[in-house]
């Protein structure tokens, strides 16, 4: 009986501890976030205000041309990224914090695993990559990619990685691909019409490698339409190259997954 009470109370204590530890951690993010979004909204909303694809192809094309010009004028270079001071980044705040930490820890000499237990994460008392590896193999993959990214540059920030693309960045990319993707109209609308494509991108947004994630489905009987759908998605990516990616934070989006789903369009 007493044993059970002990177990129960330990368990409850653990949960309370977890909540106490994790909640402040969660609360951190939104505090850091707003400046990033607000800065970029001003720049990109003009482009994202485009009425949706079918009726606004012309506008999208115009925007596309502008986009091309932009990238020609200022091609983002990897070298620049190694000297973060020279780029006026919207994520400046976060990066400054990160840089300080990096200096403290002498990041060049520290290998990846040690680097994970940075001061920034100390209060969490564990190595997320190792836990991830225990639970999910896919997390291991990411561990590898982060390892590689270290070689390219040091200004990587874990919180930035978590954020993904900001809403306006995502909108810009979406709007571009909406314009490029001709949905094959013959698709059966009561089937699963999701094609997931994993991309490896260059800093200028051009595609190094594209891979269909559910490749096996293509050759299944009765799924002939899936091949058609997947091909149309690949055509859209080819046509849209270089993709309208953010000018900064290459490490965040160098690996990108696009989920093409035709269902909404065909049903509506």
């Amino acid at each position: 009986m007493i044993r059970n009470i002990i177990i129960s109370s330990t368990f409850h204590l653990v949960i309370i501890l977890i909540t106490a530890m994790s909640l402040p951690f969660l609360a951190k993010k939104p505090i850091d976030l707003p400046p990033i979004i607000s800065v970029e909204l001003i720049q990109i909303t003009e482009k994202t205000n485009i009425p949706f694809a079918p009726k606004a192809k012309k506008i999208i094309e115009k925007v596309k041309e502008k986009e091309k010009l932009l990238s020609e004028q200022a091609p983002p270079k990897v070298v620049k990224k190694e000297k973060p001071d020279s780029i006026p980044l919207p994520e400046e705040k976060i990066q400054k914090v990160e840089k300080l930490e990096d200096k403290k820890q002498n990041p060049e000499k520290i290998d990846n695993e040690v680097k994970q237990v940075s001061e920034f994460e100390k209060d969490e008392l564990f190595d997320p990559n190792n836990i991830a590896a225990l639970i999910d193999k896919s997390k291991e993959d990411f561990g590898e990619t982060t390892n590689k990214t270290d070689k390219v540059s040091q200004d990587r920030d874990k919180t930035v990685n978590n954020i993904g693309l900001s809403l306006s960045e995502e909108d810009a990319l979406k709007a571009q691909i909406f314009g490029c993707w001709s949905i094959p109209l013959g698709l059966p609308y009561n089937e699963n019409l999701l094609v997931r494509i994993k991309l490896k991108l260059k800093p200028d947004g051009s595609v190094i490698k594209s891979e269909i994630l559910d490749h096996a489905r293509m050759n299944k009987p009765g799924q002939g339409f899936y091949k058609v759908l997947a091909e149309s998605a690949l055509r859209a990516i080819q046509l849209c190259q270089p993709l309208r990616v953010p000018t900064t934070g290459y490490e965040r989006w160098k690996d990108l997954q696009l989920n093409f789903d035709a269902r909404e369009m065909l049903e509506g």
């Binding site: 368990f11 653990v14 949960i15 977890i18 530890m21 994790s22 969660l26 949706f52 694809a53 079918p54 192809k57 969490e124 564990f126 997320p128 990559n129 991830a132 639970i135 982060t146 874990k158 978590n162 993904g164 693309l165 990319l173 979406k174 691909i177 909406f178 314009g179 490029c180 993707w181 001709s182 949905i183 094959p184 109209l185 013959g186 698709l187 059966p188 009561n190 002939g224 339409f225 899936y226 091949k227 058609v228 759908l229 091909e231 149309s232 998605a233 055509r235 080819q238 046509l239 989006w253 690996d255 990108l256 997954q257 696009l258 989920n259 093409f260 035709a262 269902r263 909404e264 369009m265």
Partner: protein, 446 residues
């Protein structure tokens, strides 16, 4: 024990997820796919021989025009102007320079070659994905030279299927009622033509009024309503032999015939004393079976593609509405509940939808609904239109539309129209005369 707690603790702690950035693309454009249809190349020897046989200068170019027109009418493709093509047909067929085709914004390219040997026409074609720079299909057909238009249709079907993911509907025919003369004295004949309006043939002379022709599944037989000796009855016509016969020995008027999906039965309405019910007749042994038995008007029956259900319209609720039942007449269920009158239900070849004509506040609509009556969508509205018929792939509906007669009794016309299931791409279908009551065949080459 302690270790176990630690493990649980680790599992429960929320940690930073290192997920790959995912972007959902839920919209695209429904713009037609830009496609380049290069004229099929033709060597000079075959060219001169084919010219004497077919009286056409360049049959390679002619076939490519058939393909191009088919693709254009489908509304899903945008064939590019041939003047902008940079590569010659013969070289393009051998190995296209993809940069040249990408330059004119083509996403797909069709090339081909026509040869004439042993009195046979051989047509080969290739379909290329310009952006991926690879061949995605190559086929060849051999046939008699006079069949060249059909080859164009078959090629279109193959391309359509490869690029859209569903079967095409181009190598098909349409049977309809050809109409001529003033409205009060219309001459009506059965006519049959290719889906693109060519090769029209007339099957009856126009002495009697004919209505509602329908193909059987093999497209060899037609069932229709004829007013022979002023008695409206369902007839059966063999297209090859021209032989006609009355269907069944009913003591009265029979109408609204249609074949069952296996082609073994004809389902129709039989009217007596102001009450009409639905009957079937087996063609082999002439056995007649009564399907509905209700003191209301039950008509326009149409089988589901698996033959298990029948949809029809009935005024048993007081107004004409659409019902479905099992093929033996049991489990009658009303499915249309909208305002207005519903008629001419036709089950889609895919099985998921029922097309219908709706009359509401003096306007006629062609629409579709799911087989449970939900999801009603009206595709087109007009002064007078009715009798939808499905393309064999269930993507397009063909129907007819009449215009209003003016005060002098003139200006009346009846034309065939087609419209996509999406409600877009409404097109006038070319016919030699005025036309009504169209019925689409299944794929001839399937």
């Amino acid at each position: 024990m302690f270790l176990r707690y630690i493990l649980i603790l680790f599992l429960l702690i929320p940690f930073n997820s290192f997920a790959l950035i995912e972007v959902d693309i839920t919209r695209g454009n429904l713009n037609p796919l830009p496609i380049a249809v290069s004229p099929l190349s033709l060597d000079s020897d075959s060219k001169s021989k084919l010219k004497t046989i077919l009286k056409k200068d360049d049959i390679g170019a002619q076939i490519s025009i058939v393909v191009e027109n088919n693709l254009k009418k489908s509304g899903l493709f945008n064939p590019l102007n041939k003047d902008s093509f940079l590569q010659k047909p013969d070289i393009a067929h051998f190995k296209p320079r993809f940069e040249d085709w990408a330059l004119i914004k083509a996403q797909a390219l069709i090339t081909g070659k026509v040869t004439f040997s042993d009195e046979k026409l051989r047509v080969e074609f290739r379909l290329w994905d310009v952006l991926a720079a690879k061949e995605i299909m190559a086929l060849a057909f051999t046939t008699v030279p006079s069949n060249w238009r059909r080859v164009g249709h078959i090629i279109t079907d193959k391309i359509y299927e490869r690029l859209t993911g569903e079967k095409g509907y181009f190598d098909t025919r349409i049977i309809y009622v050809s109409e001529e003369g003033p409205k009060i004295k219309r001459i009506k004949k059965l006519a049959i033509m290719d889906q693109d309006g060519f090769n029209t043939k007339y099957l009856t002379l126009g002495n009697e009024l004919v209505l509602t022709p329908r193909f059987n599944p093999t497209n060899q037989m037609v069932t229709y309503l004829s007013y022979f000796r002023n008695l409206p009855r369902v007839y059966l016509l063999d297209i090859e032999t021209g032989i006609q016969e009355v269907v069944g020995d009913f003591p009265g008027m029979t109408f609204a015939p249609r074949f069952s999906p296996d082609g073994k039965k004809i389902i129709m309405s039989f009217a007596k004393d102001g009450n009409s019910d639905i009957y079937t007749m087996e063609l082999e042994n002439r056995i007649v079976e009564r399907i509905t038995n209700h003191p209301s008007i039950d008509t326009s029956p149409s089988y589901s593609p698996d033959g298990k259900y029948i949809c029809f319209n009935s005024d048993r609720s007081g107004y004409q509405q659409i019902y479905i039942m099992k093929s033996d007449g049991s489990n009658v269920k009303r499915i249309s509940f909208g305002k207005g009158l519903y008629g001419t239900p036709v089950w889609s070849p895919r099985g998921d939808l029922i097309a219908f004509t709706k009359l509401h506040k003096g306007k006629f609509y062609i629409g579709v609904m799911r087989t449970n009556g939900k999801g009603e969508r009206l595709l087109t509205e007009n002064f007078y239109q009715e009798a939808p018929s499905w393309s064999p792939n269930g993507r397009v509906l063909i129907f007819y539309r009449e215009t209003k007669t003016d005060d002098k009794g003139e200006g009346f016309s009846a034309k065939l129209w087609s419209i996509d299931l999406t409600g877009y791409n409404e097109r006038l279908v070319n016919t030699e005369t005025d036309a009504s009551d169209p019925s689409w065949s299944s794929l001839l080459s399937d």
